[in-house]
Point group: D2
Chain length 405, copies 4
C-alpha cells in the first residue's frame, strides 16, 4: 500500500467519515477526495460540502452527486423485477445501494488519478463486503482502505477525542452514544445495534423515522393505482413519473399509512446473526404491486422459475455480488420475462397493509372464458383433464405397485 | 369400469355431492359409501348423516370422521415447517386438505371392499388432480369417478331438475346461482368464481366469512406469543395446545384482527389462471411466527437452502403431489433442519397485520457478543474480514483483469 | 375438427408416414401437404418426393427442405452452450429436433392455408408431446392430428394390409417386424423397442449404425482441436466450418473412434421408463470440448449457476418445452455467460473415449501466477486464507457451540 | 494462541509433515501428537511410526489408524448416493477425505487434552479450508495451526535446510523439486502443480500412478457386475464385500482397464482456477454403476430432484462443508430416495470405458408392459396422451394468443 497517494472516500459529511477523512490524511499521508452521493437519504448535502472544504479538501476533489434516478432505475427496479426479498422478507434496501456507491468511487478514482478508495463500514458488517467486492469487480487493481478494520479508534470516546484533537467539529448529539445506528436511502431506512440488540425486545417506536405507526395512520383506507411497463413502474394514480419520482411518491403514501416496517433477525454474510429494523414504505407497496401485475401477465413457467431463482438472487445482492456474472445471468433470465409485464394494479393502503385488490393489463393472460364456472363455449374440454391426470399419475402408480404390493 | 360395484364418495352433505351420490347409484348402478370428513370447515356433520340415511345409504356405509388433529399435525404443520407459500403468497389451504381426504377415501374403499372412489371436483380445477394423484399414489388399482367431467348436469338448472326428479331436497338458497363458490377447512376458506372472476374488481366484502374487515377490527393491538418445539407450534400465550386446538386458537385471534385475507390471481396446474380470495387467519399468524422462530434458531446454510427449495415444494403441494417421492425428499431435508427450532415468538396483531416483534429460544444462534457495536471481548476479529473479502473477490478480480483490460 | 380441410404432414417417405398420408386423405377427407426435412438423418430425400408424387400430392404441396444448418446453429448449439444432458447422460438428440420440425410444419401450414398438422409419433412416447407442445406454442389455433393415437392400424399386419389395399408400396424389409425402431438426425441416432426392451440384456452390436465398436476402432489415438467463439464451435483442427459442417466433421471422427454410444433407461414425460440406445458421436466430442473451453474461460459463479440450472433446462428440452418462456429464460441466463467462451480445446480420441487434454484461450481466467507452488510474486497473500476460513466458519462455530456445547 | 500446549498433527510420515512436527515443537514450544490415517493411500504406515518415534514423540501420542472402512462407508458411499461430481466431472476424491481426518484430529485432541490441531496444507488450496471448516464445526473452540500460512520455509531449499538443521532425514528423492504434487486415498490419486500448470499441455504419462494407460489396457473387454442394496454397493461379480473391500476390488479392475483418468481445470473455493489430474479407477466404475441401478429403481420425480440438488451438494463437499446443516439436509433428501435402490448392474470395462450394459432389480420400476410397441393388454391408454398434451399446452396457447396475435 506504500505507493498509494490519493484516495476517494465515501463521505457522508457525518462525524465518522469526517474523522476517517482526516485520519487518512494524517495517519496515512494521503490526499483525500470526498464523494457524497444523494441516494435520497433525506439529508441535505450542502453541509457535506462545507465540512469537506473545512477540512481543506480542494474544490475539485469534492464530489457531490444526485444519483437518485440512476439508483432507482438501474438498481432498485431491476431488483424489484425479480421480486427479491432476502430471507423471505427483507427488501435489500441497504444492499442495493452499495454497488452504486462503489461504482462511482471507482470511477471518480479513475477521474482523479486516485489509487484507492475508502469507506466507513465496520469489520463486522455486510457493507464492507458489498463495497469492496463491487470495487474489486470494477477495478481489480484498486486498493480499498477500511479504517474501521485497522485503526484503534474503536470506542466512541477514543473517536471523539481524536476528532477534537484534530479540529473536527463534534455535534452535540454525537457526543453521547447513539441508541442505535441507521442507514438510509430512497428505498429504505435501516436501524440496528444497541437498543435493538435483544431480539426479544420490541423495537421502540422512536426508532422509526420513515413511517407513522400504523396505529396513528388514517382510519380510512386509501386506494391507489400503479402502472407498469415492461416490468417497471411508470405511473402512480395515472400520473407518469420518472423512477425516482415514482418511488418518492410511493414513499410518501407508505409513510402516511404506516407501510413497510419490518423487524428481522437476519444472517449476515460474515457469519453472525443480526437484528435489524427496516422501513421500506414505498418499496413495500411497489413490491406488492409488481407481483400483482405479474399475476396476470406472466406465464406460469416464467413465474415459477422466477420464484425458484429469487432466493439465490437475493442472497447474491445481499452478499455484495451485484457485479458478478451469476447475478447478471439471473437478471438476464428475469428480464427476459418482463416484456409484457405492463398494466395497472390497484392497491388498498390501510394501517400498515398494502393489499392488491385489482389488476388489469392489455397483455393479460387471465382468461375468463377458460376459468368460468359458466358455459365456456368450448374453450376448455373437461375430458382432457382425465388424460392429464392419468399420465401424471402413471409414474406414481408404477411406484405404488412396487412399494405397496 | 364395468366391474365396479361399490364406490366411496367424498360427501359433504351439500346438494352437489347428494346429487352425485344418487347419480352414481341410478346412472352407474353402484352401491355408494359416503365419507364426510370434519377438517374444521365449520359445518355440523349431523345433517350429512341424515341426508345419507335419507338416500338409503346403509349405516355401515356412512363414514363421518373428525380428522382435525391429523390434518393439522400431519399435513398443515409439515407444510408450515417448509414456510410454503405458492406463488409468493398462497398458504395452500385447499391443496393441503385433498391428500388427507383421498387417503381416507382409499382406506375406506379397502375396508368396505369398494373398488372406486368419487369426488365432486370439476374438470377445470386443481382439486380433481389433487384427489386423483393422491388416490393413485396410494392405490394404483383404484378407479376414480369424477362425475363433473362425465355427466351432462353441467348447468345449475339441469342439476336442480335432476335432483328434484330423484327426490333430493334442494335447499332454498341453492335454487338460485350462488355468487361465488367456496371451500373451507381449519386452515382457510377460499372463494372463487362469478363475482370474483374479473381480477380488476375488488372482492366484495360479503365474500369474506372468516375474518372481520381490518377496518372493523379492534383499534388496539393485541400481543400474543406462540411457542414452538422442533419446528411445530405447541402453545399460544403460554397455554399448551394440541395442533388443531392451537390452529383454532390462532384462527380466532386472526378472525378478530382481520388477519390473513389474500386476493390472488394464481396459475392452476391444469393451465389457466384463476382469481381466488383466501382467508387464512390462524395460518397467516402461524406462518409468520414460524419464520420468526427460525430466524434465531436456524443456521444460515439451512435457512437459505430451505428458501431455495420452498417454491418447488409449494408447487408440488399445489399440484397434488403430496404423496410423491420428491415431496417426501424435500420434507426430509426440511425436517432435518427443525430439531432446534424451539422457542417463543411474540407477535403484534393489529388490523390485518401479524408482525413478529420478539423471539427467544434456549437454542438461539443469535450472539450479542458477535454482533454488538460495543466491545466484544475478542469474539470476532475484524481483521478476518479482510482475508474473507479478498478471497471472495479473487475470482472477480481475475474476471475484471480479463474483461476490463 | 370438422372444418379442417388441409393438413401438413411430417413426412419421412417411409411406410408409416406414407400410410398416414393416405389415411388422412381417405379416412379424413383431407388434402395432404407433405413436409420432409433434411436434418442430416443420412437418408436421401429424393425418394420422399417420388413417393409423395406417387400418392398424388401436387408438386406445390411437397415440401422438402435442408434444415441442417438451422438445426445445428439454432437448436443444437444453444443446447450445447448449456451442457445439457438429460438424466446425467442423454444428449437430447431426438428431443432437440422436434421443435424445429414443428416450427416448419406450422409455418408451412400458414403458407399453404392448411388448418392442421399431423405427425407419425405414437401415443406412448415423448415425441408426440414435443411435436404438439411446440406447435401449440407457435399457433394456438392449429389442430394436430396424431393418427397413431386414433386409428386401429395398431398391429404391423393391419398396417401392411391397409397399405396394400390402398396401393402403397411396402418395401420387403418392412414386411416383417423390425427388431427395433430408430430415429436419426445430424446429432444422433436413437434406437429402442423390441430387442432392447429387456434392460438387463446388452444391446446387440447390430443395433449400432453410426459408430464402430470401440473394439474395432483404431489402435492409435487421434488428437484433434476444436475452436470456439462465444460459446459455439467454429473450427476443427484449425479449419473454419459452419455449424452443420463442423458437427458432420466431428461425427466422422466420432464414428471412426467409436465415441458416443450410450445405453440408457430413462424416464419419459408420459410417465413410464424406457430403454434406449443412443449414438451421438460428434455430439459427445463437442459436449466435452465445450466443457473444456468453459473450464478456463468461465468464472466460477457463472459455471456453478449453469450447472445448477442445467438439469431443469434438459428436462424442459426433453419434455418438449423448447418454445416456452422458462426455457428461453434459462437460455438467456446461459447465453449471457458465453461472451468470452472462445479458444481452443485439444482432445484425444481413442476407442470410445473423447478426453480433453489441453485448452487455451485469449480470454483464459486461469492464472499460473495465482495457482503456482512457486513464488507467485505477491499475486496471492496466503494470510488472506485465514480470515476467509474464519468467517466462513463463524456460523458453524456458533452452531457447534449450541449443539455440541 | 499463547495458551496452547499440545497439538495434534495430521502426520503423513513424509518430509513436509515431519518438518512441521519439529517446527511446532521448536518454534512454537508445543507438544506434538501425531495422527496418521490409513485411507488406502497405498503407503505403509510403519515408517510413519518410526519417524514419529525418532522425533521423540512418546508412544501414547503416536496415533496410526486404519480408517478405510469408515472412509468408504460413511463418506464415499453417501456422496456416491448423490451421484456427486464437481463441475460436471470431478468425483471429489480429495475433498471427501478431509472431513474424516479432521474428525479424528478433533477426537484425538479431546482424548489427549490437546488444544489445537495442525495440518500441512498450503494457503492457496482447498484443503486448508476443508480441514479447518470441519474442525471448527466439530469443536468451535479448537485452535488450528497451518504452518504453511505462517512460516517462512516457503522455498524447497529453505525447508530442506531447516530439516537438516533439525536432524530430520531428507530422502534423496525429496532433495530436488518434485515435478508435481499428489494426494492419494482409496478413492483417488490427484496430481497438480509444476508440469501440470500449463492447461494446454497434455499430462505426461508418468504422472499417472493408479491406472494403466488405456492404450496399454487389455484388448478384450471384461464384463463385471456390481450389486447394490439400498443405494450402496455390496458385491462385485456376485461376491459380497465390505465397502472398502468393494472399492478396492473396483480399483483393481479400473486400474487394469485404464478407467477413471480425468484432466480438469477446476475452480477452487479460494478463488483461482487450478489444473488437476485425477485417477479414480474404482470410483468411476462405482459412480456409473450407481446411476445404472438408479435408472430402473428410482422414480422420475426423485431422480430429477436429485439431479437438480447434486451440483449444490458437490460444491458443498468440495468447499469443505461436509459437516454443515445444508449438506446434511441434502443428504437426508437423497437418502430418503435410496430405499429401493437395490439390484445388479452389469458393466463392460474396456480401455478407459466403464459402460453400463445391463441392470436388473427386484424393485425395478421399468415396465415392459407399459413401454412395449407390442400389444400392452390395456396397461396404457394412448388416448390419455391427448388430454395430457392439451392441458400441458394450455398455458402456452394462451401465451401464443397474446403474443402472436
Amino acid at each position: 500500500m506504500s505507493d498509494i497517494k490519493r484516495v476517494v472516500l465515501a463521505y457522508s459529511g457525518g462525524l465518522d467519515t469526517s474523522v476517517i477523512a482526516k485520519w487518512l490524511e494524517v495517519e496515512r499521508g494521503l490526499e483525500v477526495v470526498t464523494f457524497t452521493a444523494d441516494l435520497g437519504q433525506g439529508e441535505e448535502l450542502g453541509p457535506a460540502r462545507e465540512k469537506a472544504r473545512a477540512m481543506g479538501i480542494p474544490e475539485k476533489h469534492i464530489f457531490i452527486e444526485d444519483l437518485r434516478e440512476e439508483f432507482v432505475r438501474d438498481f432498485v427496479f431491476p431488483m424489484m423485477r425479480m421480486n427479491a426479498r432476502y430471507e423471505g422478507d427483507y427488501l435489500l434496501g441497504t444492499s442495493i445501494a452499495r454497488p452504486l456507491i462503489s461504482k462511482r468511487l471507482v470511477e471518480i478514482a479513475h477521474e482523479t488519478n486516485a489509487d484507492a478508495i475508502a469507506h466507513g463500514a465496520t469489520g463486522k458488517g455486510n457493507d464492507q463486503v458489498r463495497f469492496e467486492l463491487s470495487a474489486y469487480a470494477l477495478d481489480p487493481d484498486i486498493t480499498v482502505i477500511a479504517p474501521w478494520r485497522e485503526w484503534d479508534l474503536t470506542s466512541r470516546t477514543a473517536l471523539i477525542a481524536w476528532a477534537e484533537a484534530h479540529q473536527i467539529q463534534v455535534p452535540k448529539d454525537k457526543r453521547g452514544e447513539s441508541p442505535f445506528s441507521t442507514d438510509a436511502n430512497m428505498l429504505h431506512t435501516s436501524s440496528e445495534g444497541k437498543v435493538l440488540e435483544d431480539p426479544w425486545e420490541e423495537t421502540p417506536d422512536y426508532v422509526y423515522s420513515r413511517t407513522v405507526n400504523p396505529e396513528d395512520a388514517p382510519d380510512a383506507p386509501e386506494y391507489i393505482t400503479v402502472d407498469f411497463e415492461r416490468g417497471d413502474g411508470v405511473a402512480v394514480n395515472g400520473e407518469a413519473m420518472s423512477p425516482a419520482t415514482l418511488l418518492a411518491a410511493l414513499n410518501e403514501l407508505g409513510r402516511k399509512h404506516g407501510i413497510g416496517r419490518l423487524d428481522l433477525v437476519e444472517n449476515r454474510f460474515v457469519g453472525m446473526k443480526s437484528r435489524g429494523m427496516y422501513e421500506t414504505p414505498g418499496g413495500e407497496i411497489y413490491a406488492r404491486a409488481h407481483r400483482g401485475i405479474e399475476q396476470i401477465t406472466l406465464d406460469r413457467g416464467a413465474a415459477h422459475l422466477k420464484d425458484e431463482l429469487m432466493p439465490r438472487y437475493a442472497e447474491l445482492v445481499y452478499n455484495g455480488l451485484w457485479f458478478s456474472p451469476e447475478r447478471e445471468m439471473l437478471q438476464a433470465a428475469c428480464d427476459h420475462s418482463q416484456d409484457k409485464v405492463s398494466g395497472t394494479v390497484r392497491l388498498k393502503l390501510y394501517k400498515g397493509l398494502a393489499s392488491v385488490v385489482g389488476r388489469k393489463s392489455p397483455h393479460s393472460l387471465y382468461s375468463e372464458a377458460h376459468v368460468t364456472f359458466e358455459d365456456d363455449a368450448g374453450a376448455y374440454d373437461q375430458k382432457d383433464a382425465e388424460g392429464f391426470i392419468k399420465l401424471n399419475a402413471l409414474r406414481l402408480k408404477l411406484l405404488a405397485k412396487r412399494d405397496l404390493g
